[in-house]
């Protein structure tokens, strides 16, 4: 039995724009002497640093995101490695956002380098086919933002296929997936070329006799249900059929900060200043957005691939970094970290969950909440005027050199927060 859901016959209205090799290309844009050379932006430029972005030239040599700098240099000795400069990337993101707003206000940034545009309203007002509009956007990016910047644009009837189309040709691609050409495109793709299908999902599909993207599209719903055992089976059938299921925005449920440590730390004394810095950063963002938190979560990644994490509900509204730090420190003490316990920590992640917007707060017997409110407000005002961490807990200054400004990987939540307007 075949898939009874026909491919969406509507014309394409969704456009996915992906800035190629984002951080690395922006560095090449800024410094013309780097253009045409294999370069990489890494969390740390030391041999153990993780590559966050490789330039198109580096990718051609086989250097990939996620590799260690030393592995990249083994592939190509002359690899130029740069530390990240987040404000450069945020500015290019803002410029792209402004340019896209000339075409539609119905767009969503999916990450620092990806945008999804719903062009339905634009197309009802203007004539040109979407491919012509895409060419115009590409031209304007080069003329108005940077002549070295290239984007891959995908066009399709739904968000998922637009993303797949944007990934078909990199760099500088422009492809459409629609009811006329989808079969040809599906026949050339592997299951793992699809976003969201990696080895484990591919194995699930293999277990019910689905070995290719064409098989996946043609599979009846009962077969997909046998593979996924959930509503996801229907979602996958609709995605591959060009029907929209991903037009959903998830609200924020937590605020967190993490850091990849440049060296392995194993004692509580070494980790606690970093923890203090992370909690200061998280709490300042939490307060700026007008939230309080009900719980705290601490995650530690160890050398050798181990991972420990624990969350705890605190039972009162948290907004002061000192309270959050105390709770996080207790979690740290309960972790398998510290003298005699072993475990070299590579990554520390702190997050606050149980967010709520409380205008009036429960007073406490042993703690002066209004005083804390006033103190944190004064601290935020000073830091807002003179810069982050002008006033912070003494403990957190010990972590200043380790916890630097970074762009969250794949995250878009932080994009709500930064703006150049004051």
């Amino acid at each position: 039995m075949q898939n009874s859901l026909k491919f969406n016959p509507e014309s394409s209205k969704i456009m996915h724009i992906d800035l190629n090799s984002c951080f690395a290309t922006i560095e090449q844009q800024a410094n013309p002497s780097l253009r045409g050379k294999p370069i990489a932006v890494a969390a740390f430029v030391s041999p153990g640093g993780c590559i966050l972005a490789a330039s198109v030239e580096a990718k051609r040599l086989g250097i990939k995101t996620g590799m260690r700098v030393r592995d990249g240099r083994e592939i190509y000795k002359g690899l130029i490695v740069l530390p990240p400069d987040p404000w450069k990337y945020r500015n290019v993101h803002l410029k792209l956002r402004n340019l896209i707003a000339d075409y539609t206000n119905d767009f969503v940034p999916k990450s620092i380098d990806e945008f999804v545009l719903n062009m339905t309203d634009y197309l009802s007002l203007k004539e040109p086919p979407l491919k012509v509009v895409a060419q115009e956007i590409k031209g304007r990016i080069k003329a108005e933002i940077g002549d070295w910047l290239t984007v891959s644009i995908g066009i399709a009837p739904n968000r998922y296929l637009a993303k797949i189309a944007a990934g078909l040709r990199k760099p500088d691609g422009l492809d459409e997936i629609n009811w006329e050409n989808f079969q040809g495109i599906y026949s050339k793709l592997k299951l793992t070329d699809l976003t969201g299908i990696k080895e484990r999902n591919a194995a699930r599909l293999n277990s019910v006799g689905i070995y290719s993207v064409s098989d996946f599209y043609e599979a009846p719903l009962w077969k997909l249900k046998a593979a996924f055992h959930s509503i996801n089976s229907l979602y996958w059938q609709m995605r591959l059929g060009g029907w929209e299921v991903d037009d959903v925005e998830f609200g924020r449920r937590s605020y967190g900060n993490s850091v990849a440590l440049g060296r392995n730390l194993s004692t509580v004394a070494e980790i606690s200043p970093i923890l203090a810095r992370l909690t200061e950063k998280t709490c300042s963002r939490l307060r700026a957005a007008g939230y309080t938190a009900g719980g705290i979560h601490l995650g530690l990644a160890y050398k050798g691939g181990g991972w420990w994490h624990e969350g705890r509900l605190i039972g009162r509204a948290l907004f002061d970094a000192r309270d959050v730090y105390k709770a996080a420190f207790r979690l740290l003490l309960s972790s398998p970290t510290g003298e005699g316990k072993g475990g070299n920590v590579l990554n520390v992640a702190v997050s606050c969950f149980g967010l709520s917007r409380q205008h009036s707060m429960q007073l406490e017997i042993f703690s002066d909440i209004p005083k804390k409110r006033n103190l944190t407000e004064a601290q935020d005002n000073i830091n807002g005027r003179w810069g982050d961490f002008t006033v912070a807990s003494a403990q957190s200054f010990g972590g200043a050199k380790v916890v630097m400004d970074r762009i969250a990987f794949g995250g878009i939540k932080e994009l709500e927060e930064f703006t150049l307007m004051h």
């Binding site: 410094n31 013309p32 002497s33 404000w87 005027r385 003179w386 810069g387 002008t390 150049l420 004051h422």
Partner: protein
């Protein structure tokens, strides 16, 4: 190479045209990128430029109206 030194920058139409550093004048031949950021309320303009044979990262502090050369390297 990180430098962080005070420099004099000549502007035409809000674009750097020359950089005077260590008594030498370097003519700006290419603007790579112009970006902004804030530290507290202070707004900084950063120009990544090519001046003669040098790449220069210039930072303009809009509070003190002063320029600093943050980085340079021969291109």
């Amino acid at each position: 190479m990180v430098v962080d030194e005070k420099v004099t920058v000549g502007m035409v139409n809000n674009i750097p045209k020359y950089v005077q550093w260590h008594g030498r004048v370097h003519n700006v031949t290419q603007i790579g990128l112009h970006h902004l950021y804030r530290e507290g309320r202070t707004l900084y303009h950063v120009f990544s430029v090519v001046a003669d044979t040098l790449f220069m990262k210039l930072k303009f502090d809009t509070d003190s109206l002063s320029w600093r050369l943050e980085e340079t390297e021969s291109s």
